[in-house]
Amino acid sequence: QDLIVLENSKVIALFDQLGNIMSITNKTSGQYINVTQEYLYYLPSFGTDETTQCSGAYIFLPIGTTAYQYNNNTPGITVSQGPIVQTLTRYWSDTMIQTYLLYVDSDHLETEEVVGPIDISDGIGKEVISRFTTSLQTDQTWYSDSNGMEMQKRVINYRPSWNLTVVQPVSGNYVPVNNIAFIQDVNQQVQFTVLTDRSRGCASLDNGEIEFMLHRRTLYDDQRGVGEPMNESTQIITTTKLIFHDISTRAQSHYRPQAQSISNPLYPMFTTTSMSSTLWP
């Protein structure tokens, strides 16, 4: 009945027995955040009585606003402790695996996700998201980078330059994120930052929430020019970094290099030698 703890000198991440994340503590500032994470999916629209518009490559159009649980079975949990990294792996199936990694002295928690191929036996397909729900009071606002450089303020059901009529409450609020997205609690002066390894869509549809599109597999052409369904049959392996920190200039300048590190990883090259390990260098 014990909780699972991943802890280093800077971060404490608390998980329940099923490996669901519960909180992240920043040991430097002493502040903590309640956070849950779920894998959900939207049902892609395949047309209604009112419109023949389907969800596809150009158009993200879910049926309704409900996001369904992507994994209904209980995952197998593996926890490992080591001198460099502690891990917690949640295994639902070969098509859905999540691993949390906390490296020694690292100020962030990393999550590695294996998603897909998405099951299409229902004949509809799925648009799979990862949703974080936190205890932050975010005032209907979130931020994401528009081009990998400049952070843009996003407000739900609002555009700064025209009066928005909300037609689709989910996809109408999805915006691009290239590397960085975050939500802030201005009163507590804390921030939950998510660094992605690829461009995605993201939205904050409710207070304290932020969700990211992970993988889409739709079975109908959206009639916008592609001419075929976006039947993505691939498996993706993606890495996301989670940072909980204070709102300060120092903190803001800190995650930018981390985002750069994700998109410009260290590059190993291999050779062979018959020399000893001490002689070759």
Binding site: A57, Y58, S80, G82, P83, I84, V85, T87, T89, Y103, V104, D105, R224, G225, V226, G227, E228, M230, N231, I237, T239, P257, Q260, S261, N264, L266, Y267, P268, M269, F270, T271, T272, T273, S274, M275, S276, S277, T278, W280, P281
Partner: protein, 175 residues
């Protein structure tokens, strides 16, 4: 000139449907092929460059191999470990600041040790995802736009256990 093919592929992939993912599947396959051909040419250039940097006197420049899909579970370049050979690894930092980060490399066995360029065994750890998949993790410090080299070698049970080394190698974050 060798990497022009990659520059051309990158130019083609500025097309809006490649950026947004709104191309047909056969076009996506074509983009992937162009990138793959460009990538291979670029790796060959890196092979020549790093080989010449490591060439000593009149000895032949070492040949390098690559595992461009390191987020997968098998890296053929580390297979010589299973036959007892050491595998030197040179790590390139494409950013303009010193980086102190972990690297993860798939290896075919679970008992190895990592030596840095000073000949010291450094802490490392094995992550086992399954019975036939092991990932070696260790911290590296790499200078801006530069290289660091390490040697991964099969270890016997008598070797110094890297997991018990002091934490001194990763106790100094880079400013």
């Amino acid at each position: 000139q060798d990497i022009m093919v990659m520059r051309q592929a990158m130019g083609v992939l500025q097309h809006h449907d490649a950026v947004s993912g709104t191309e047909q599947q056969h076009v996506a396959d074509d983009y992937a092929e162009r990138l793959s051909i460009g990538n291979t040419a670029t790796l060959q250039t890196m092979n020549q460059l790093v080989g010449q940097l490591l060439q000593k006197g009149k000895t032949a420049a070492p040949e390098f191999t690559f595992c461009p899909l390191l987020n997968e579970s098998i890296c053929p370049s580390t297979n010589p470990l299973s036959s007892g050979s050491s595998v030197p690894v040179v790590i390139y930092n494409s950013l303009s600041w010193t980086r102190y980060e972990q690297v993860k490399i798939p290896i075919p066995l679970v008992n190895v040790q990592v030596t840095n360029s000073s000949g010291q065994v450094i802490p490392s750890q094995i992550l086992s995802y399954s019975s036939n998949t092991s990932i070696l993790v260790f911290y590296v410090m790499v200078p801006p736009l530069g290289y660091s080299s390490f040697v991964i070698a099969p270890a016997s049970n008598d070797d110094e256990d890297a997991t018990k080394l002091e934490n001194k190698y990763y106790s100094k974050p880079v400013k």
